[in-house]
Amino acid sequence: MKMGEVDIEATTEPLLKVEDLAVDFHVSGTVQRALQGVSLNLKRGRTLGLVGESGCGKSVTSLSIMRLLPQPPGHYAGGRILLEGRDLLSLPEREMRALRGGRIGMIFQEPMTSLNPVYTCGEQIVESLLVHSGLSSKAAMDRAVELLDLVGLPSPRERAHDYPHQLSGGQRQRVMIALALANDPDLLIADEPTTALDVTIQAQILDLMTDLRERTGAAVLLVTHDLGVVAQTCDDVVVMYAGGVVERAPTNALFADPQHPYTIGLMAAVPRIDATVDRLSTIAGSVPPPWVTLVGCRFASRCPLADDRCRSAVPPLRENGPDHAVACWHAPIEEATI
């Protein structure tokens, strides 16, 4: 959003609204909480970045929206996931299936393994088209070729007859994107879409996704651990830590003025090309394992500012500026204090 532009989208209801989502995993007799109180909003035409380190619950959140979390061991323990006001968690499986690949498209992390090796790329897109639309097989194949062209594959008609192993990683990810876009989804969930790709291909894929979002008007939920990717593509960011949201803000605001000690630590840990340092900055300690029951702030064990209140009471996610919410007792924090 540039200055002076009128934000029409911002005034409308969010397309996707996750409220207080809690997810448990039942593992060999014990219950482990994977998500606790996760809330986020995503409006049409916007890109929301979901960031955090491995195991913080980013992928669990995105799989939950698709309701693709394996159950068992997964279990939705509370909260709601609303797509235009309809709670996906209480939807019958039949209706959920119509949404998957229909109104919600998903791109996965590993382009090498996310396509079925025994069907051609075209066949895999056609399959999705046939399930969701009343197209004939021939029309579906034409549409698949069109989609492959849209995602920038050269000679798409030939590529449609290629098997995934005949394509490169970047090309496969393009096929995945074509697949996710097959039925003009309103919501596109991209779970680490560029992590497995090398840097130049990463940039191409991100550009492609931004371009496609602008053309189709879909909302994009971008799951990533890469702050650079967030800065480049997202309008808003949700920072997750150990299964919960610690900070939520427009991208500019987050980068300009991070409020949560964890976010500040993450920013500090990004290596800078314009500074020479002996050691890269790190956040001391490690993420608490999921079987530990957390009391108080989930970041307390690693936080330089932690005091008794942090260790005993959970800080709520509080507004701390326009659209900028943070779950920290010490907020607002001057970055220099850490």
Partner: protein
């Protein structure tokens, strides 16, 4: 595809040579003198010596081997020492029934094994899964002769449901079907176990893969996910297993045919070996080896059909 078949055929040549060598080695290695067998127990040493010269048995082993290879190349497998018919005609009469038995065995056991394995994988950990796996273990561990005898005892003798001796006629006649039922059932039972177990573990493995999650994310129904994206991919190792099991199948056919007095290659081979009918035994072994090579060729082709990565580099 044609290059693949051709490649496999070329690879089969040394295997075939090895088989011929072994077949010939039998003659040298096993106790018993073919000349004595042929001459009969009452023959004088002079007669035996004459026969030996006539058969070329007094020549050096290597000469005998090359002569043997030459005859093979001409399609001359010799004559049975017992019946004096040509080995080719004996084998020709037995090959049809054995092929029928193989078809009758595989046509039900492979689909059933795959279906049971898939069900066990989908309902993993359930009673159904355990029942199917127990059944498979029984199928794998019970010796085939025992299965044959039990079937004869109960189905054939006690309940008098099906005949258990000989062949009734071609497979497509009612009598043929009734006669082949018990041999095909016992032979199939040893096959179902490994196929079901392999299918189960393979389907379980495939269902964990990323592309199955993609299939679900496309909004496909669960049966479609399991059959088109799970089972289809899981069949690749199953086909390999079936190829490897072909040896057991042929070995099992030898036992089954003998027990049910079914006039196939297996029984012919056993009969020939027991009566020291060397040319016939060699011929039967050659045919069994050829069958093994053929089955593996079919498996390789199937493998390429199932997995595009095999044929398109």
């Amino acid at each position: 595809m044609m290059t693949l078949v051709l490649n496999r055929l070329i690879i089969s040549v040394p295997v075939l040579f090895g088989v011929l060598l072994l077949g010939f080695g039998l003659l040298i290695l096993v106790p018993g003198d073919p000349a004595i067998v042929m001459a009969g127990p009452m023959a004088t040493p002079e007669v035996v010596a004459a026969i030996r010269t006539e058969m070329g048995l007094d020549e050096p082993v290597l000469t005998q081997f090359f002569r043997y290879l030459g005859r093979m190349a001409e399609g001359d497998l010799g004559r049975s020492l017992i019946s004096n018919k040509t080995v080719i005609s004996e084998l020709g009469a037995a090959i049809g029934p054995t092929t029928e038995l193989m078809v009758a065995c595989l046509i039900w056991s492979i689909p059933l094994g795959i279906a049971l394995g898939t069900l066990a994988a989908v309902w993993r950990g359930s009673i159904t899964d355990r029942a199917i796996m127990a059944f498979s273990v029984a199928g794998v561990s019970l010796p085939i002769f025992f299965i044959c005898l039990m079937l004869i005892h109960f189905v054939g003798v006690q309940w008098r449901l099906l005949p258990f001796i000989g062949r009734g006629g071609p497979l497509w006649t009612m009598d043929g079907l009734r006669h082949i039922a018990l041999p095909a059932l016992s032979l199939g039972l040893i096959f179902i176990g490994p196929v079901a177990r392999m299918t189960r573990s393979s389907v379980l493995e495939v269902l964990r893969l990323d592309h199955v999650r993609t299939a679900r994310a496309k909004g496909l129904s669960e049966p479609r996910v399991i059959l088109r994206h799970g089972l289809r991919n899981a069949l690749i190792p199953v086909v390999t297993l079936v190829g490897l099991q072909a040896g057991y199948l042929l070995g099992g056919a030898v036992v089954t045919e003998s027990i049910f007095s079914y006039p196939g290659i297996g029984r012919l081979a056993v009969g020939a070996i027991l009566s020291s009918d060397f040319p016939l035994a060699q011929g039967a072994i050659l045919i069994l080896a050829l069958a093994f090579i053929l089955i593996n060729l079919i498996v390789d082709v199937l493998y390429a059909l199932l997995d595009p990565r095999v044929q398109t580099p």
